[in-house]
């Protein structure tokens, strides 16, 4: 059983779908840089040996009985981490594109800046990265332009899935998380809650195996889907702001914080009893 205290409060989440060829190397890479951390592979109902490879490499496996897609799979991991009482969750893709050596940098950024989210960015500095497909590169440029006025600042790599979140963001995402193409919508959700994010320069590698699911024909659908998701999120939060009195809103947030604190204390109590 994974224990947040033994793991120093750090939970590394590896969403994977049919990644038997790469997930073992990813797990060993993470273990090498963060020996204490809890490493959990969220297996989105793989049909290959992803689960057994992950177990053999020393990770815990959260097996989804049905394929939920990336957002649902990641949210299941966030829910588990939140319920177990973890402080930080770092998401690393199971295809090997994210370099595990950058995981400590993301964790440090979360710990030192106090930001709720740290994004591993391939464009933040001159990382010398050319591992982005043409459709994705076009999408990134479009979303950079779109997000700048919404977020009030520029974000260099809005589609990066190499992210770390602290417990505040974890609480939000464990309750509500975009199901398809979640990265950009998640940024908007955080910004509307006045949360902060920081970008950390990271290396991205070519996929170890397999092919990206974002092909050229899907790119247009991707852009429309994300634009709609961003628009809906803005409407949802602005509507709340307009129709809810400020005092009531502050009280509601205080209640949520209080409930979260109680849940954490209960979890800690259960663990203490278990030990």
């Amino acid at each position: 059983m994974i224990d947040p205290q033994q793991a120093d409060g750090v939970f590394v989440l590896i969403p994977a779908l049919n990644e038997e060829a790469s997930v073992g190397e990813v797990i060993r890479g993470v273990r090498a840089v963060l020996p204490q951390a809890a490493i959990v592979v969220a297996d989105d109902s793989s049909t290959d040996a992803t689960r057994s490879v992950a177990l053999a490499a020393g990770a815990e496996v959260l097996s989804l009985p049905f394929h939920l897609g990336l957002g649902g799979c990641v949210q299941a991991g966030y829910r588990l981490a939140f319920e177990l009482g973890f402080e930080y969750v770092i998401r690393v893709d199971g295809d090997g594109q994210h370099d595990p050596r950058d995981v400590p940098r993301i964790l440090d950024a979360l710990r030192t800046t106090g930001c709720q989210m740290a994004i591993g960015s391939r464009f933040c500095e001159d990382n010398g990265n050319g591992h982005t497909s043409a459709p994705r590169a076009i999408g990134i440029v479009i979303f950079r332009l779109l997000l700048r006025p919404i977020l009030g600042r520029s974000v260099h790599d809005p589609t990066s899935g190499f992210v770390g979140v602290n417990r505040e963001a974890l609480e939000v995402f464990s309750r509500s998380f975009p199901l398809e193409y979640p990265e950009i919508e998640a940024l908007v959700v955080l910004q509307r809650r006045r949360f902060q994010f920081v970008e950390v320069p990271c290396r991205m590698r070519p996929r170890l195996t397999g092919r990206s699911t974002i092909t050229a024909p899907k790119s247009l659908y991707y852009i429309i889907h994300v634009l709609l998701g961003v628009f809906v999120n803005i409407l949802k939060f602005e509507r709340r702001r307009w129709f809810r009195p400020k005092k009531a809103s502050a009280q509601a947030q205080a209640v949520v914080r209080d409930e979260s604190r109680k849940a954490s204390e209960e979890q800690a109590g259960v663990r203490a009893k278990g030990n």
Partner: protein
């Protein structure tokens, strides 16, 4: 026009009977049959009541009563489809939450077995 209205009457009766039979065989749950039965009744009434149909056509600003009937049929089915989209979305959300909960419970169960 009479032929179109007769065809519409037959179609609406067919829809009504089909939905009732499906409910009886438990292929459709009662709560989800209401929209279809309502749609069938609306179309049946309009196709049998020429004066009502002409009144509706005038109300819609459509000169041709059959065209008004087709427009109305389209609108009725759009409402039914919309309702089912809402239901499907709600079911999908519930399904995702349930799947995640099952996975998390299974994870805890596995950990308990390992501890023993």
């Amino acid at each position: 026009m009479d032929r179109l209205l007769n065809v519409m009457t037959l179609l609406s009766i067919g829809l009504f009977v089909l939905v009732l039979a499906s409910v009886r065989r438990a292929h459709i749950r009662v709560e989800y049959s209401v929209s279809w039965l309502g749609a069938a009744i609306v179309l049946l009434v309009l196709s049998r009541s020429r004066s009502l149909l002409e009144w509706v056509a005038t109300l819609l600003g459509v000169r041709s009563a059959p065209l008004a009937l087709i427009m109305l049929a389209l609108c009725v089915f759009l409402v039914v489809f919309y309702r089912f989209s809402v239901i499907i979305s709600s079911l999908k959300d519930a399904n995702i939450a349930l799947t995640q909960r099952v996975a998390i419970l299974e994870f805890h169960l596995q950990a308990m077995h390992e501890r023993r």
